[in-house]
């Protein structure tokens, strides 16, 4: 990263910090201003995290190589029953086993 890029990173982090703080104070401000949230808007807001995060998962399944795809499938199966720490461990073990033992 050169200097200009690094300064940009610092600005992005600062802006992200402000944006995050706005979400943390936003509900408090809103509740003293606004009487109701329209139900369709609430439904849309409820979908935001799953929608955004899915776009970070799905493409990686196809672009990371077959061992990453397999690790993600195993992690998905683990994640249906166990916490995300176990998902990470299972997926990591699959990738490491394939990269260092099979290949």
């Amino acid at each position: 990263m050169d200097n200009a890029e690094h300064m940009q990173l610092i600005y992005v982090i600062l802006a992200a910090a402000v944006a995050t703080f706005l979400t943390r104070i936003g509900g408090y401000v809103m509740i003293t201003q606004m009487k109701r949230i329209p139900p369709r808007m609430e439904a849309a807001l409820n979908a935001v995290p799953a929608a955004v995060l899915s776009t970070l998962v799905a493409p990686a399944f196809f672009s990371g190589g077959w061992e990453v795809a397999l690790a993600m499938l195993v992690a998905l199966a683990v994640g249906l029953r166990f916490s995300s720490l176990w998902m990470l461990l299972a997926g990591w073990l699959v990738v490491m086993a394939i990269r260092h033992v099979l290949i």
Partner: protein, 238 residues
């Protein structure tokens, strides 16, 4: 009394801190892997202080996504906090302005959940308790980021130790965590497919916003579940 409350908060937050610590270290290591310096990593943990969105931010920064989209994505991932702060408003009404500032800054998921639980049990939500609970998570989060970042610097090829697989799986875990929500499966399916298609036809940074917008629009258009039929009044919750 105040001192007791503070230490009660510290004890309550301790298990949360232990379970969050590996993620702090993971963030530090991945941040360095994505081109952050050790300082940048700790700077982000200290100012943004929202694990999932920090991961999203460094993933997008690593892909040279436009700054506005990075900030918007972090905003979107953290959007749930708006509901938290609306909901705890009734419990922290007695805090002073400065206390409210710190309270909102420290408002992470477990902080919200514990504040609600404490209020439900009828125990007083004092600032001392809130601060004790918050700091025992906040301060180690910085230390773990630092340790993770220093460790990350020593790694030559992140692929050789399997670091590259951790972020997508971490995000997958977050997606799964929302699976109780209305229309979760259709939203995830549509956002996934749209992002893959957008990645293919439009190109890298845009697949995030295109995929996200597709899922959000779908959620807004799908039939509303029963509990949404009545317009939700925030007021009666207060």
């Amino acid at each position: 009394m105040t001192k007791d409350d503070f230490w009660q908060g510290v004890r309550g937050g301790f298990p949360v801190m232990v379970s969050a610590a590996p993620f702090g270290a993971l963030f530090g290591a991945l941040a360095v892997d994505n081109g952050f310096s050790v300082f940048d990593a700790v700077f982000m943990s200290a100012t943004v202080y929202a694990g999932a969105s920090q991961m999203v931010g460094l993933e997008l920064f690593g892909h040279n996504v436009q700054p506005w989209l990075i900030i918007l994505s972090i905003f979107a991932v953290n959007f749930r906090h708006i509901l938290y702060s609306a909901s705890i408003a009734r419990h922290i009404r007695h805090f002073s302005g400065v206390q409210k500032f710190f309270a909102f800054f420290l408002l992470v998921d477990p902080q919200y959940a514990e504040t609600e639980k404490r209020a439900e049990r009828g125990e007083p939500v004092t600032f001392a308790w809130y601060l004790g609970f918050g700091l025992v998570i906040y301060l180690p989060w910085q230390l773990m980021t630092l340790l993770g970042a220093i460790f990350g610097q020593m790694i030559g090829d992140p692929k050789a130790i399997g670091l590259d697989v951790l972020l997508p799986i971490y995000f997958m875990g977050l997606v799964l965590g929302f699976r109780k929500r209305d229309n979760w499966l259709p939203v995830v399916a549509v956002s996934s497919l749209a992002s893959i298609a957008a990645m293919h036809f439009v190109g890298s940074p845009w697949h995030v916003s295109i995929g996200a917008i597709a899922g959000i629009l779908l959620a807004a258009c799908l039939p509303l579940s029963k509990r949404h039929e009545e317009p939700v009044t925030l007021e009666h919750e207060v």
